[in-house]
Amino acid sequence: MCDVNPPVSQGRLPKRNNHICHKCNVAKPTLKSRHTYYCQPCFEVAFGNKFRAQVGKALKLSPRRKPRVFLALSGGTSSRALLDLVYNFSKLDYPTANNQKFEKFIVCHINESALFPNSTGNADILRGMVEAYDGPTYDEVPLESAFHVGDTESNDSIPAPLLRINEGSSYVDSEYLFTLSRSEESFRAKLQALFAATKKLTAKEELLADLRTSLLLQRARQHGCELVFLGDTCTRLAIRVIALTSRGRGYSLPVELGDGSQWFKEVVTPPSFTTGLPVKASIDRLTEDFIVGLDRDFPSTTSAVTRTAAKLTPRDGLDLRKQCLLCLMPVETDIPQWKSDITVRTNTDSQSTKDAQGPSSPSTLNLTSHLCYACQNTLSELAPGVDLPTLVPPTYFEETIAGLGQLGLTEEHGTGGALMSSEAMKASIQDFLLDD
């Protein structure tokens, strides 16, 4: 959008003088956006106005209703521009520092230096950047605190319950077995071990996205913010629509991207697993290349994709109270049934091989029905033995495990495992449970 001579044809638009800014009709243009040539000052004003109009309409603010606002800042172009736009918006009718449009304005940066050592300096740069504005409060949170439960700054923060993937877990049989794990390693080491457990970049990206989403959400809740700003652009959203579809996430797509939903969106940070790597490194990277390339030849692609996605809704019958333990998204029932209906893996003669497996250990948790379809795919690309943090709220996790204990004896897949009673189950996870 910042190219003065883009390859896109102008279509049926009237021919206009391309040597002068179309807004002020005086200055020399520096950029072209959506068939219009702008000089820099005019572009800034026009862009700001457009943002203000859209946000103002969506938020319905009034002097009496001052929201607490949370902005996720990766430091990339989109979220950096968003910070400036939201700041200018907040100052619009309130030019002095102590009288603000927002009751609270938190700018949160997730420090991912545990995974990307090259980005270690970013946090300090961003802190300076945010502090240069008067008003927003800078909040930095390390990615590894996704392994905490509760307030990360206070001393009473508790490690999140860890799920260790068992050897017997298998994508083909669509059976995901775990044991609760208590590792004494540092959070940072656990995080690094988790990402070292797979070579597949698609799986890494999915895990990272899950961790970010849950952290931002947790953080925004801790600050009591009811509004979360994320730097997703139309292009980025279109890429996400196609990437989520390609990973089998059609069921959660409407809640992930729908702007009216109670759910959430995520941001994209400059250092990523696929920066500088070939196109086929991961699904996200490939989709990015695909959409950006297509949009160059067919300029309506991104808006068509995002508009289409906005018309979708979660399927009837999808239980929106049930959350995936990993990504917090809705879980469909009957995934193993769906898979087994379309795939035959055995012939009738050797059907017995599966039943011949030894009984699973008493502490084994079969969490297949609490993991969504796409997370099951991701897990199939992780090595057994790795510890995963549960990202759902601890009370939800406790209920899930307790529910599993009651159902355990009538386990639907007939693994023959003697599953523990709910009391025994509760005893084994006692250390992780929070007092009400």
């Binding site: 083909v172 597949k200 698609t202 629509v241 196609i242 989520l244 579809t245 390609s246 990973r247 089998g248 996430r249 059609g250 069921y251 797509l253 409407p254 196109v279 086929k280 490194a281 991961s282 699904i283 490939l286 989709t287 695909f290 390339g293 297509l294 067919f298 692609t301 068509a304 994709v305 508009r307 289409t308 996605a309 018309k311 979708l312 809704t313 979660p314 399927r315 009837d316 999808l318 469909e332 769906w338 209906d341 379309i342 795939t343 035959v344 893996r345 055995t346 012939n347 003669d349 050797s350 379809y373 796409a374 795919n377």
Partner: protein, 362 residues
């Protein structure tokens, strides 16, 4: 040491299944491949005993394997189906005439009756003639729209109660992506359905290969040494679809389950209430189902016959449609009134052929 089959643990494994990543032997591959299709057919109750099933046969790998597998399954599980091969001759010299030779060989090899319907009989236009008229740019639109109807007409003439097509999982995943990219919500919701309900005078249609990977179909044809025709159509493939196809192939190489994952996504898509959707009616000219007063095939045919080949292809082309025919672009006007207002086509012979099939000699 050679690897043993992961299913029977006896034979030597000769292939790795793209769908499950299992290394398996040839007999086990045939077994799982055929059984999956059998499951798809029985779980979705695609057929009733006694059904007369027309297999859309192009001579390509998908339809050849479909004909072979359906015949095998029909005998093995006693579906009680009467199977036919139904081919459409689009009139593309150097492509369809060759592939039809394959279909004719299949007819003998599988001992199935064959019917060929041609665009020329139905519409009085061959694709060669259409391309001479419209050029290479939008010719796929004509071919696709005409083929859909031609299959239905052919099936009715055969007295078929069901049509099966060789669309495989890759095709369906690609269509999901295409409909997302084009912003076609109505089709996005429909395109993952395995069968169309054959109401309103249409023959029900289904895709038994909905969950079958293209790669496995090729493997099956290769190992069974099935005789099929593999050449791209000489009238260049649709460019936009080409992007989606290339993207899908890349996705598959990153994560082989992507194809099934996309279908899984597609099945979950549901359009929000309140989104305007086209309403299904009937074409006032030929009576075929259509969401407009005139069906797409009639609009395209009208354009061809009047020397306005852009008609029905581009928005600008639709404006060339004179005011009398204008409501073709308006989805809301009821088809019944349209029938009174718009008398029959300027080329009565073609339209009559479409309507009654009289000029067809079988």
């Amino acid at each position: 040491m050679a690897r043993l089959c992961e299913i029977c643990h006896r034979e030597k494994a000769v292939l790795k299944r793209p769908k499950t990543l299992q290394s398996i032997c040839r007999p086990c591959f045939y077994q799982v491949f055929e059984t999956e299709i059998h499951h798809t057919i029985t779980k979705n109750r695609l057929f009733q005993p006694g059904d007369r099933v027309a297999i859309g046969a192009s001579g390509g790998k998908d339809s050849t394997v479909l004909a072979y597998v359906l015949k095998t399954l029909n005998e093995r599980y006693q579906y009680g189906l009467h199977l036919f091969l139904l081919s459409i001759d689009e009139g593309i010299t150097g492509y369809r005439d060759d592939s039809l030779e394959t279909v004719k060989r299949n007819q003998l090899q599988y001992d199935l009756p064959l019917k060929i319907v041609s665009y020329e009989e139905l519409y009085a236009w061959t694709m060669d003639a259409i391309v001479r008229e419209v050029g290479l740019k939008n010719n796929c639109t004509f071919c696709g729209v005409f083929r859909r109807q031609a299959l239905d007409r052919g099936a009715m003439l055969l007295g078929a109660t069901h049509i099966v097509t060789g669309h495989n999982a890759d095709d369906i995943a690609e269509t999901v992506l295409m409909n997302l990219l084009r912003g076609d919500v109505a089709r996005l919701q429909r395109c993952t359905e395995i069968a169309t309900p054959g109401e309103d005078g249409c023959v029900p249609r289904s895709k038994p290969f909905k969950y079958t990977y293209e790669k496995e179909i090729v493997m099956y044809a290769y190992f069974k040494k099935l005789d099929y025709f593999s050449t791209e159509c000489i009238y260049s493939p649709n460019a936009y679809r080409g992007y989606a196809r290339a993207f899908l192939k890349d996705l598959e190489s990153i994560r082989p389950s992507s194809i099934i994952d996309i279908i899984h996504s597609g099945e979950a898509f549901q359009v929000r209430r309140g989104v305007k959707m086209p309403t299904q009616g009937f074409c006032s000219r030929c009576g075929y189902i259509s969401s407009n007063p005139l069906c797409k095939a009639c609009v395209l045919l009208e354009g061809l016959n009047r020397g306005l080949p852009k008609l029905g292809v581009s928005r600008a082309g639709l404006q060339q449609l004179d005011p009398q025919l204008g409501p073709a672009a308006d989805p809301n006007s009821p088809p019944t009134t349209a029938a009174k207002e718009y008398p029959s086509s300027s080329d009565p012979s073609a339209a009559a052929a479409v309507r009654t099939g009289k000029s067809l000699d079988w």
